[in-house]
Symmetry: C3
Subunit: 352 residues, 3 copies
């Protein structure tokens, strides 16, 4: 799962290893055959990241003594179906993301996470690009995770460029052992000039607080990103309970664009381990308050076969029903308003 590159003066004779510092190479390669069916068009493909997000990364930590440490984390997405990387967003604004038409020219970026951190018994500070505080609830409390055809529609929300990550951020994490409580806060900057009309666009902050005890954990998060066209606020709450035979999970989220649209969604379900196998399923919805109240409901069922701790085969099937004028569709298919869509994944994922 982790590979430590040893900074060792490794003498073959004396067998003395002097590990002075280290960089770890890590990653996931997940490939998936996907099928999407809708009332207008279907699509079949070989895609990536059906269960876990494919990635390649480099990270390291240095012990500075007295409980203090510093480290770095560089992690980028792999589109392992075609060889490209994935764009990042440089300013948390709509003009800071991918260039249209880049196609096969999209190089590898470290857009997933890229930060330097310093920490101690007082917590940890991170500088760079990282997940925003509302993301962990989306990820940890969705039985299908945040990948593949089964993931909650909550993630196709109104959250804007900072729904998952933010650049130019300063993050703080509470220390690990404070009686079951955990939490984090983040401030991120759009870095526009002070004399621009939209000087604060892409700037924002968020916070997440949670409590875990034994088999139970719950967490709430909220964040606001400023935009001249209307600040975006996203808040969510989620929790999980490990009953032994299964872990139950649920999450609820509200997105609110100031002076604009509002949306809300939820997902609930369970993961059932069966030796090296796992069954998982969820039900969820996402609804906007725009004309007609467009709403998408989704039922997802999945099966995972762990071939080892690093490698798994998996399959997922999901059925999405639209109403109120919604026309969401799965796996690249397209469907008419108020029609349904079905998607199917069959893939393999490997950690390294």
């Amino acid at each position: 799962m982790k590979k430590t590159v040893l900074a060792a003066a490794l003498a073959a004779a004396s067998c003395l290893a002097q590990a002075q510092s280290s960089v770890t190479i890590f990653g996931i390669v997940d490939a998936v055959v996907t099928v999407g069916r809708g009332s207008i068009s279907n699509r079949t493909g070989l895609d990536n990241s059906g269960k876990e997000s494919s990635r390649l990364g480099f990270r390291g930590t240095e012990d500075l003594g007295g409980g203090l440490y510093a480290g770095f984390h560089l992690e980028g997405a792999l589109n392992n179906d075609n060889g490209t990387g994935a764009a990042t967003n440089v300013n948390n604004q709509s003009n800071g993301g991918a260039l249209a038409g880049l196609a096969g020219g999209q190089g590898f970026t470290f857009g997933r996470k890229m930060h330097v951190q310093i920490g101690g018994n007082w917590g940890e500070v991170r500088l760079g690009r990282d997940y925003t505080p509302v993301y962990p609830n989306q990820s940890q409390f969705d039985p299908m995770g945040t990948n593949g055809v089964g993931t909650s529609q909550v993630r196709s929300n109104l959250g804007g460029p900072t729904n998952v990550r933010a650049s130019n951020s300063i993050g703080y994490f509470l220390p690990r052992n404070i009686g079951g409580f955990y939490g984090q806060a983040m401030y991120f900057m759009g870095e526009n000039s002070s004399n621009a009309a939209n000087s604060d666009d892409g700037t924002g902050m968020g916070i997440r607080l949670g409590y875990g005890a034994g088999p139970f954990t719950v967490a709430i998060a909220t964040q606001r990103t400023e935009f001249l066209t209307g600040d975006i606020r996203t808040s969510n709450i989620g929790g999980s309970y490990n009953a032994g035979f299964a872990t139950f999970r649920a999450m609820y989220q509200v997105d609110d664009i100031k002076g604009g649209a509002r949306g809300k969604g939820a997902v609930m379900g369970a993961n059932v381990p069966l030796g090296s196998h796992e069954l998982r399923g969820s039900y969820g919805f996402y609804e906007r308050d725009t004309a007609g109240n467009p709403k998408a409901r989704k039922l997802s069922l999945g099966y995972v076969h762990n071939l080892s701790k690093r490698t798994a085969l998996y399959t997922t099937v999901a059925r999405l029903r639209n109403s109120g004028g919604s026309s969401m569709a799965l796996n690249g298919s397209s469907t008419a308003p108020n029609s349904s869509s079905t998607g199917f994944d069959f893939g393999i994922t490997q950690l390294f």
Copy 2:
């Protein structure tokens, strides 16, 4: 040649290394001074990949027990003369490749090969981006390989975006020891919507079969890629014979665009090892059936000095003659129809 990054808890005192899993970093850096001369213009440059394709990659394999294994392979091209990467093609179609004008902005991609594989005594299945079945014959049976001024004109063919590699592919390889036979098949997808006029563009399949016995091997391959403007079929056959003092190689290929142009080409020659030195030479042609039957003939001679198993100096000279209106030219020069062109390479290549 290979570097294994050890996932080791390496205790300096006890000298106990617990290698649990591994990722290997590998690559080639090949730099070459190139000169191209034609009747219209000449060009001199410092380029890359004159003998071997410059690359950087990460790969790993996991033993799953019972003869089963899984692994991954990430490999991208290095333009080590200027620092850029090279674009890949995301959909096996003309609009899925490089963005024009990207220049120094072209980042590193894993466009050479990027797949996850699972295999056993029944063979191996690969998912992702990989060589198409017609490519190995072009590579293994050309005495000059597929790089530099000496490589066969067969590779400047009508094969389209899938002549060398395909994205969104599912490949199958026969197991290694089946009485000298070897082979592979690949299905790849363009992933267009089912309701598009060109819904099947970039989708195709191919197969390669070979037989090797002692110093002799021969292989045939054929593949077809669908396009609304005319399916492209490429077929080739090649073989080699190791006579001890030299290895002789020959290859013949036909490209056929349905309702369009047709081309055929061949290359033959030999590699002569002389201790740490190697002489190599080839003669080949490529001819299209369009008006005038444009044809290019090429004679290539090369010399390689292996400084070690990893590092070599090399030089190649090639002379290309055009006829029938052809105006192909070498190493970035340009030449008038039916004129000649001469190219010269002097380089160094290093594996790691």
Copy 3:
């Protein structure tokens, strides 16, 4: 600082490490809170490379026997505030650099350095992309280095695309021990066609010679890059003296566009080590001979706290004064002609 990836068959039982060859992974992650203030606009951001240039690289060397060695060096910039890489320049010309508007789509390149080298007791030859001969004087003789708000304005000069690095280059370095002398020469190519009007654009050469004895070193460098619109010549001289309690540094540079503008600049100052702390300061200017003789003067003061050999906290403040119509500004702020600008950095840098 360095990490050696061992190509080792590491037997847990026998503890025998057979290091056959190696690739080293190395890098720096430097994150910095920056504030820029000018008469027109201010800017606050979380940026990268405030003290050292953030980077990720792979390198290796092979002993070929008889004093001969070969190696490779791949090194690219990390924009660790947002996940992008940085563009390189493929042809040493203005059209060979970054594509405008690439934003979050800019992938990682190896644009910092990317070469293969071969060397011996006669010196070293490098092929690829590397620093031009005028750069080391800018870097070694500026007390603030070449990063952050404190670096000399000399680097915002008229030097054009080859001011820091060149692609398609052939470089030669003198051997290390020749009585205190050191030096290098470089020839680089624009690689335009011979029949183009600007066939020589981006082609040039340079040389650097230095002498060091005990606490003292001095070096001169000059280079010329050809352009149809006017060749650019840059020359500089710099030196340093380690007085024990402080190291004093100074540098002077002249840039000259043939038939066009001319500029000159200088920087001087000192680095004062205080145990694990360091104070540093510099004063410099850059002046152009265009209408009004626009000139920028800058005073920089910095403090570095080394937490370890790999990790440091730092802060820098700089004040820039414009005259003669100049309107340079610091850290992304903007200021009116002849107005001032102030910048502030607070960051952390970590080597690996």
